[in-house]
Amino acid sequence: MSAPIIEVRIPTILRPYTNSEKVVSAEATNLAELISSLDSKFTGLGERLLENGELRRFINIYINDEDVRFMGSLAATLKAGDSVTILPAVAGGC
């Protein structure tokens, strides 16, 4: 069985890597595979997301709106229908 196709939302700051596409997709069963699959389609994107094999400090990635750092980080599993959102870390109020 092939890996599910996952939809990924790309923030403005990373769209130069995706030919300005807001939403892209890639096949993967976990986050590490997803990033590697995205990087093979959009050269250089992987390096913007990872540093020394870990998520960059100012990058947040969410699977169905939940932060992957609390779901196993790069080992977080993906299934058909999951939606992934990448966002830069910003300050908030409350």
Partner: protein, 319 residues
């Protein structure tokens, strides 16, 4: 005792309110899953930030950083500034707030009412820009007292010594604590206290997901993680958009009669999510969440009206 010597003295001890109608129904014979709202709008200036502001000022006075007549500088999206403005007014300090230009008009009006001076930071980049501008101003004006809520341990300590103990005293059976993630002070402080009391508690963070303009950083290195943030205190973290937040704020108003600010909608959305998981798993839960402020400051957005739409929040810093 509900008599206090001054407005400041009435800080905290806010009510924890049950939500009998909004709490999910459980199957017969299964334990209850209950939601509890801590009404932080009942603080002196109407938000949870009164705890942060007063603790930071008390600490700066105690350590001698803050002397009579001094000028305080703070980056704020609104509530912390409002709290500081009241305390500064009463205690005789001047206050300069750095606030993103894309915040609701009421915040400016209230800050000016208490005599604060506002320096606006650009909309793009949201609070990151307010923090950057404030840090620059602090370096250029060493005589100003930079309290800096994002990195001031007095912020999280205020919640460790007040918010956390209040919740545990009112609800010793608490299984989940849900709060907003901004400076991270509430979650770090109250979360740490509650975990010490109950190692199995789930500490849930709800962070607002803004429109694209707020994430419009110049580069990734302009990202920001508050110095107070310690991920080990948190169990799970959810990102909640304006649409879900507005829907939940209206639900809270319609079903339970509670008129809350927009960021509370994001927190309630996460709280209802974990409530549903508890129901599905057939386990009981007592879920306490924070109502950060009431809705008054956001009326100008029009979101509370029948046709109020979350789209108006796209370019705003609504939490």
């Amino acid at each position: 005792m509900t008599r206090y010597e001054s407005l400041e003295a009435s800080l905290g001890h806010t009510p924890l309110i049950g939500l009998p109608k909004l709490s999910p129904k459980t199957q017969p014979g299964k334990p209850l899953v209950r939601l509890w709202a801590k009404l932080e709008d009942r603080n002196p200036t109407g938000s949870i930030k009164d705890r942060t502001a007063m603790a930071m000022i008390d600490d700066a006075e105690k350590t001698g950083r803050l002397k009579p007549g001094a000028t305080i500088l703070e980056p704020t999206s609104g509530n912390t500034g409002i709290s500081l403005a009241m305390v500064a007014k009463v205690r005789g300090y001047k206050l300069i707030c750095v606030m993103p230009e894309n915040t609701s008009i009421e915040r400016t009006q209230i800050l000016e009412m208490w005599g604060a001076k506002i320096i606006y930071s650009p909309a793009a980049g949201g609070s990151n820009e307010a923090v950057r501008v404030a840090k620059e101003l602090a370096a250029e004006n060493p005589d100003w007292v930079f309290l800096y809520q994002y990195g001031n341990p007095a912020n999280s300590l205020a919640h460790y010594t007040t918010t956390g103990p209040e919740i545990f005293e009112d609800l010793p059976t608490v299984t989940h604590f849900v709060a907003g993630l901004g400076t991270t002070g509430t979650l770090m402080g109250a979360g740490k206290y509650l975990r010490e009391k109950n190692p199995n508690i789930s500490i849930i963070a709800a962070e607002p997901r803004y429109g694209e303009v707020v994430y419009g950083l110049r580069n990734l290195d302009a990202g920001f993680v508050p110095e107070l943030y310690d991920a080990s205190i948190i169990t799970r973290r959810f990102s909640v958009g304006a649409e879900d937040s507005v829907r939940r704020v209206k639900e809270l108003l319609e079903v339970e009669g509670i008129f809350a600010g927009i960021s509370t909608g994001a927190i309630l959305h996460a709280a209802l999510g974990v409530a549903k998981e508890s129901v599905d798993a057939g386990v009981g839960a007592d879920i306490a969440f924070i109502v950060c402020d009431a809705g008054w400051k956001y009326l100008s957005t029009g979101i509370y009206g029948k046709d109020g739409d979350s789209e108006v929040l796209d370019s705003q810093l609504w939490a």
